[in-house]
């Protein structure tokens, strides 16, 4: 469509550019503000006196002697051992995404290839399942999990996250598989393959864009999850987001808010890399999947 854009009137071009720049400022400014502020002390970044303190570090200079300080990062990573939470998060996210995609791909393929009514109703049921507020689900798990000694372990959180994210995964993957022409696997089966063989030899090689896109969305869900991990994991197995929440303090005691700010910047960094790396895939995956409602 580049040749199309060349023929646009300058007014329209100006409008598009200014709209886009405005949007980018709105979208990214809070993040850069946070990044900048994570090198200040709390009194500056969360100043009730003067917001420009966050820019110039009025109190940061008074308290640490410089306009920038790495105390937030040091406190979170060294003193509070944030890296333990990072490892736990890595384990949870890796397995959640891997398991979600494996079982979701199988089911999504089947749902896209079945023309019986029950396939439709299964998808609708999944949608209704997604409507259930996760907080209700999680508080329902607590008692049985404690009773059967499942509470607190990483695998439990992984299985729960997989299950809770399954409806979304299913919807995305099903729509994606619908866009892979049926002729592909049908011709394989005419050659004598079973459905599973057709899936393995014909579908798997062409499904990656859609799977990777879906994987990125489930990764974001698992990575940013608070409700499930905060209530199901024990302190030793804590992941990053509940750990960040624990920096915020309670009603009666003050927390280390700057640890939380530094952690949030740290937590966003791997996503930076990931999105930069996969952005082509996200787009091409959604294109191929076209996630039709």
């Amino acid at each position: 469509m580049n040749n199309v854009s060349d023929r646009r009137s300058p007014v329209l071009k100006l409008f598009l550019w200014s709209f886009l720049i405005l949007w980018l400022i709105l979208a990214a400014f809070p993040f850069f503000w946070t990044f900048w502020g994570s090198f200040k002390v709390e009194g500056d970044f969360f100043s009730k006196a003067d917001w420009t303190w966050a820019l110039f570090g009025h109190l940061t200079q008074a308290e640490t002697g410089g306009a920038f300080t790495g105390d937030g990062y040091h406190g979170a990573w060294v003193q509070e051992e944030f890296w333990r939470a990072a490892i736990n998060t890595f384990v949870v996210v890796f397995f959640t995404v891997a398991i979600s995609l494996t079982i979701g791909t199988l089911a999504g393929y089947a749902l896209s290839r079945s023309t019986y009514n029950y396939a439709f109703w299964l998808l609708i049921l999944a949608l209704i399942f997604r409507a259930m507020p996760p907080i209700t689900l999680v508080s329902g798990y607590l008692l049985p999990f404690y009773q059967w000694n499942l509470w607190g372990h990483l695998p439990t959180a992984i299985v729960v996250l997989v299950a809770i994210n399954q409806p979304f995964t299913l919807w995305m993957l099903t729509s994606f598989f619908r866009n892979i022409p049926k002729d592909l696997d049908e011709s394989a089966m005419v050659d004598g393959c079973t459905h599973f063989q057709a899936f393995r030899h014909v579908i798997i090689p062409v499904m990656w864009p859609g799977v990777i896109t879906t994987g990125l969305f489930s990764l974001l869900l698992a990575y940013n999850d608070f409700v499930v991990t905060a209530m199901i994991l024990s302190q030793d197995n804590q992941t990053m987001v509940p750990k960040i929440a624990s920096f915020l303090g309670t009603t009666q005691t003050k927390g280390n808010v700057m640890f939380a700010v530094a952690s949030v910047v740290s937590v966003t960094a791997p996503l930076f890399v990931l999105v930069m790396f996969f952005q082509r895939q996200i787009v091409s995956g959604l294109t191929a999947g076209a996630v039709k409602g």
């Binding site: 002390v41 709390e42 009194g43 969360f46 100043s47 009730k48 006196a49 109190l59 008074a62 308290e63 105390d71 040091h74 406190g75 003193q79 508080s139 607590l142 008692l143 404690y146 009773q147 000694n149 509470w151 607190g152 905060a230 209530m231 024990s234 302190q235 509940p242 929440a245 624990s246 915020l248 303090g249 309670t250 009603t251 009666q252 005691t253 003050k254 808010v257």
Partner: protein
């Protein structure tokens, strides 16, 4: 900031290191598992209990801000996941209501002779918990501003209003009063304080029937509204973090604040030295003429689970007792709380809490259904403060919302 914190870590590590020789807690075997909130004082207690770990003795802890969401479920199983829950006077009732904690009389008789009597929380003649720290909300103010304007330290909310008017008129601050009036738990807490200060009773004697739609209730609400006129217009979103920040920024001159948070206001972080060094504490504020201060007293303590073996219960009792023994106090932990432990020497900043205790303030109600009342208050009171309803209508709504919840829970028919 971090010099202090760093030395804290170092000293904590040294303590941990020095106790590889097992602390002598008198436990031979058993399982101890603690659930509780995560603030530093509780971490100190848990650490003290964990020093008892050793051959055949497993001690672990799960300290999280979400402890109230998981402790009932964690104590309900058989055997229970947790052998001890650390709770406050407001939250022990949830465990009592579900009947998941055990009376400690026999264990106190056997091992607890040296625990001071007043630390034992006794309900219906049975020891249900052992308290180890106290807290209260009390006046916190800027002594330089008050001195400059020749204002005496307020003793009551009426004084505070008069002082606020003077401060505003002098142009020192447009919104000189601070308060954690965030809709929800905080706002309800301020009403509980103010209503108790007016001598109000929440329930008909000995029942769960609500009885706060009365003159005291209306007076309490009106006082809150008068105070809010001197607060930042965003006061319904301000929790104790925000109020504290307002004071550190020099906007708030007087406020009712948790004793446990004042130390962080006075330190060299978050505020210019000329503000921080002038933040001062005083006793709780009175209101009206009831003679009871408009504040509530709080304690934190530990309990022992019911659904565990007697051996584990004994091990838990001994480990927790070690967790609150005088041995846990050192330069670092001393300032973490107002400890109810022998050997504790209060700092000047703790005077507010001690004044609250000695001034005849009452403890936060430890009633089976008061949590429901607190929630109902938190949800309904904002309507009065935003001017949507009058006081009587708001209180009627509170009673109706509470009654519905209490009926569901079986406290009312």
């Amino acid at each position: 900031m971090n010099a202090i914190l760093r030395s804290a870590v170092v000293s904590a590590l040294m303590i941990a290191g020095s106790t590889t020789v097992y602390a002598n807690c008198g436990i031979s075997s058993g399982r101890v598992s603690i659930v509780g909130n995560e603030f530093p004082a509780i971490q100190t207690v848990a650490k003290g209990a964990m020093d008892c770990a050793g051959e055949g003795i497993e001690v672990k802890s799960n300290l999280t801000a979400d402890h109230q969401k998981i402790n009932v479920a964690g104590l309900q199983g058989n055997p229970a996941e947790y052998t001890s829950a650390i709770i406050a006077n407001s939250s022990i009732v949830a465990l009592m209501n579900e009947d998941v904690i055990r009376p400690l009389d026999d264990l106190v008789a056997k091992h607890g002779a040296d625990i001071p009597k007043n630390q034992l929380i006794t309900i219906n003649g049975k020891v249900m918990a052992v308290a180890f720290m106290a807290n209260a909300q009390h006046l916190t103010y800027r002594k330089d501003v008050l001195a400059e304007l020749g204002i005496e330290t307020p003793k009551s909310y009426e004084d505070m209003l008069a002082a606020a008017e003077k401060i505003r008129a002098a142009g020192k601050s447009e919104f000189p009063i601070g308060g954690a009036y965030k809709a929800g738990w905080n706002l309800a807490q301020e009403f509980v304080n103010m209503y108790i200060g007016h001598g109000g009773q929440f329930y008909k004697e000995g029942t769960a029937e609500p009885a706060l739609n009365n003159d005291s209730g209306i007076a309490a609400l009106n006082m809150m509204k008068e105070l809010s006129a001197y607060m930042n217009p965003d006061y319904l979103t301000h929790d104790s973090n925000a109020t504290g920040a307002e004071m550190e920024a020099g906007n708030v001159i007087m406020m009712n604040m948790w004793g446990s948070r004042v130390g962080k206001l006075q330190d060299d972080e978050g505020a210019p030295a000329e503000i921080a060094s002038n933040i001062e504490v005083s006793g709780p504020l009175m209101v009206g003429d009831s003679g009871t201060p408009a504040t509530t007293l709080w304690w934190d303590g530990w309990t022992v689970a019911k659904n565990i073996s007697d051996a584990d219960a004994e091990a838990t009792f001994l480990a927790m007792k070690n967790g609150i023994s005088p041995g846990i106090l050192n330069d670092e932990t001393m300032g973490q709380a107002v400890w109810m432990i022998e050997g504790y020497t209060p700092a000047p900043v703790n005077q507010g809490v001690f004044d609250s205790i000695s001034s005849g303030a009452v403890a936060y109600p430890m009633l089976p259904y008061h949590g429901l009342m607190h929630t109902a208050l938190g949800n309904e009171l904002a309507d009065f403060l935003t001017g949507k309803e009058d006081a009587a209508k708001t209180l009627a709504d509170v009673e109706a919302a509470y009654a519905t919840a209490a009926k569901e829970k079986g406290f009312l028919n």
